[in-house]
């Protein structure tokens, strides 16, 4: 058996049990011959092993999800931008009648240790019990169009909505491995099977006894969310739609924004203050590192003498007032000019 190598530093002691569980699961997998052959003869495998196979497959799934909770680093780290996830959810909402899941291509950039997913588009496909058809022409076309806008994005994998990895996924994954080296498979659980939208990424690796039929196993990868600064601000605004009952939200005007930002800082300060109160009254154990952070925080307010601060404040306020006055003057001027011309 070839277990994917962990070429990073040896994991800390707390993760020993993780390795142990993996050994068990790999051994289990081996003993029941749970292999996914890459050919399309997948249909026959179902009947031949019966109960034991279904038991081991469910065990496999459980262990896989357990693994995901602990740690999953055997390959590049997958960094996803929120726009990709929103796109996937949107295409799921618009799926054809009768389709249970949606698939599509992921575009992005690769690095030595990470893969950054920045864009995606959905690809029409038909899936039934024993066969799957993907519109590859369409996928190629769309990729060409996308390349015109952002020439630096390449195909790095594909996504599918849904919870599990089915046999059809293996076929589709094989198609995508022709398009990109070592493609990533992303699953987004839009059916909310565990009351959460689980977003997982996998990479495929070969597995099997050398000489006999080779199988494919999907190993999980860590998923991180990255934002550009402006993206983060956009997402923050979108978060506010959760609060309103009609799921809508208008864009706020100038001073209101400053007020809400100040409100947020105030909330954070209240939390910190209540924590300090708790420590002083003995309810919570004091933590030295937190104490150091608090010292940092208090020292960040610069100590300036009263007169200096007054003069700085006044000069700044004067600047701003002057600019406002000039802006108003200009506006009045052009309005006047207009009326004079019309005369």
């Amino acid at each position: 058996f070839r277990i994917p190598q962990n070429n990073e530093l040896s994991p800390p002691a707390g993760h020993v049990n993780f390795l142990l569980i993996r050994e068990i699961h790999v051994a289990n997998v081996a003993s029941t011959g749970f292999c996914q052959p890459p050919t399309s003869a997948g249909g026959q495998q179902h009947e031949s092993h019966g109960d034991l196979r279904s038991l081991s497959s469910s065990l496999f799934i459980i262990i896989l999800h357990f693994l995901y909770e602990i740690m999953a680093v055997h390959g590049p780290v997958v960094k996803i931008h929120p726009v990709v996830l929103a796109s996937i959810v949107d295409s799921y909402e618009r799926r054809n009648e009768g389709a249970t899941r949606v698939i599509g291509t992921l575009l992005g950039t690769t690095d030595k240790h990470s893969v950054e997913v920045t864009n995606c588009f959905s690809v029409p496909h038909n899936e039934s019990e024993d066969e799957v058809a993907v519109d590859m022409e369409f996928a190629k076309n769309m990729y060409e169009l996308h390349k015109k806008v952002s020439p630096s994005e390449v195909i790095i994998g594909w996504y599918a909505t849904g919870y599990d990895i089915t046999e059809h996924s293996v076929l589709i994954h094989e198609y995508y491995s022709r398009e990109a080296p070592n493609p990533i498979h992303l699953t987004v659980d839009t059916a909310l099977q565990s009351n959460k939208m689980n977003i997982r990424a996998y990479v495929s690796s070969q597995m099997g006894v050398p000489g006999k039929t080779v199988g494919v196993m999907f190993t999980p990868l860590t998923v991180k969310y990255v934002y550009y600064d402006t993206e983060r601000i956009g997402v923050e605004l979108l978060q506010r739609t959760r609060a309103s009952p009609s799921r809508t939200n208008g864009l706020t005007t100038d001073l209101a924004q400053v007020a809400s930002a100040a409100g947020r800082v105030q909330e954070m300060l209240t939390t910190v203050l209540s924590y300090i109160e708790d420590i002083l009254s003995g309810k919570v154990m004091a933590d030295n590192s937190v104490g150091r952070f608090l010292m940092d925080l208090v020292n960040k307010v610069p100590k300036i003498t009263a007169e200096d601060f007054e003069s700085m404040l006044n000069s700044n306020i004067n600047d701003l007032l002057m600019v406002t006055y000039l802006a108003n003057l200009t506006q009045a001027q052009i309005a006047l000019n207009e009326k004079l011309v019309v005369l």
């Binding site: 519109d135 601000i233 007032l321 052009i334």
Partner: protein, 346 residues
């Protein structure tokens, strides 16, 4: 300056007929715009990735019209125009994109276009022309202006504009002379009208957002409460000054035109008077009067300068002033907060 995307006349012709038979042209057909969160994210991403070099990125908005509000459900970006890319066919790209999107059940109806802006300078001839051609074909179309610099300062700055019906009429007739504009009685304030925007998310997207909030790290940059403002203010004022200079030149040109016109009128009057005097003299001497010459041919009126540019410049100056005022009011608030933090009460 590159033009915006061209509308598809084939598919839009049928919609134009149905729209024309519907609402009267003086009412605004669109009272509100509803944008999906996805569109916002896509626009942000497009500028972030492709817009750092040149100043403007553009794209097309897709969606549908529901009663009196316009719903924008998706968008796709437009590639940059490069001079060496002559064989790139924009209409081809658009048609292919829309056809492909139709296959995956995305709304494929054009409802407008978006553009990014640099410090708020977007009122230009190109924008006017593009928006006019869009609005002419599709009555409810809007242009979304995304200001990335203001967004980076703390809060999303996205505005939707349409041309007012009056401006539409003027553009249709292409009569930009002073008399034409005087007749239409148009001022720079009623060129563009802003339509309020509302962001809407589906339930599933809300679940996604909840998940994101739990898993992602807290932002360590709170740009909105940043006190240093002089850089941004300087840049804005610089642009404002340039525009005011342009306006000055334009006004100067118009003044010379007026002066020339009045001088010409005077000359005409003098000529007529002299003619009359001569005629009376000749009559008194009994000679036949001189023939009346065609004076209009002798005194050709000077060319009236087109006034549309002035309007645009005035609109732009107005926009700059608005932005500056918003910015200064925010900063004043922040300064007062800093004062409170110091603990000095005056």
């Amino acid at each position: 300056m590159c033009f915006g995307p061209f509308p598809l006349h084939q598919t839009m012709a049928s919609r134009k007929e149905s729209a024309a038979s519907g609402s009267s042209p003086l009412e605004t057909p669109v009272k509100q715009i509803q944008i999906d969160g996805l569109v916002v994210l896509k626009i942000i991403k497009h500028y972030q990735e492709e817009g750092q070099g040149s100043e403007v990125v553009q794209g097309v908005l897709l969606g549908l019209v529901v009663e009196d509000s316009l719903e924008i459900t998706n968008c796709f970006p437009f590639p940059q125009h490069t001079e060496d890319d002559v064989d790139f066919d924009e209409v081809q790209y658009q048609m292919e994109m829309m056809r492909s999107l139709r296959h995956v059940n995305i709304d494929h109806l054009h409802v407008g276009w978006y553009q990014s802006t640099h410090y708020g300078s977007f009122v230009s001839r190109a924008l006017l022309d593009s928006q006019f051609s869009y609005q002419h074909a599709i009555e409810e179309s809007v242009v979304l202006i995304y200001d990335p610099i203001k967004t980076a300062q703390g809060s999303l700055c996205l505005k939707a504009y349409r041309l007012t019906p009056k401006l539409m009429e003027i553009c249709k007739e292409k009569d930009f002379s002073p008399e034409g504009l005087k007749k239409a009685c148009i001022g720079f304030e009623i060129m563009f009208e802003e339509v309020p925007i509302v962001i809407k998310n589906s339930h599933l997207i809300n679940v996604l957002l909840l998940d994101l909030q739990e898993k992602s790290t807290v932002a360590d940059k709170h740009e909105l409460l940043n006190l240093s403002s002089s850089n941004h203010l300087e840049k804005s004022l610089q642009l404002l000054m340039d525009r005011v200079d342009d306006m000055n030149q334009d006004i100067g040109k118009y003044n010379t035109y007026c002066r020339n016109l009045s001088k010409q009128q005077q000359q005409k009057q003098q000529y007529l008077q002299r003619r009359q005097q001569e005629n009376t003299q000749r009559q008194s001497r009994g000679e036949p009067p001189l023939p009346e010459e065609d004076i209009s041919k002798m005194f050709k009126p000077p060319q009236a300068p087109p006034r549309m540019d002035t309007l645009l410049i005035a609109g732009q100056v107005n926009n700059y002033c608005q932005n500056i005022k918003e910015f200064t009011s925010q900063n004043l608030g922040k300064l007062f907060m800093a004062e409170a933090l110091q603990g000095h009460s005056s």
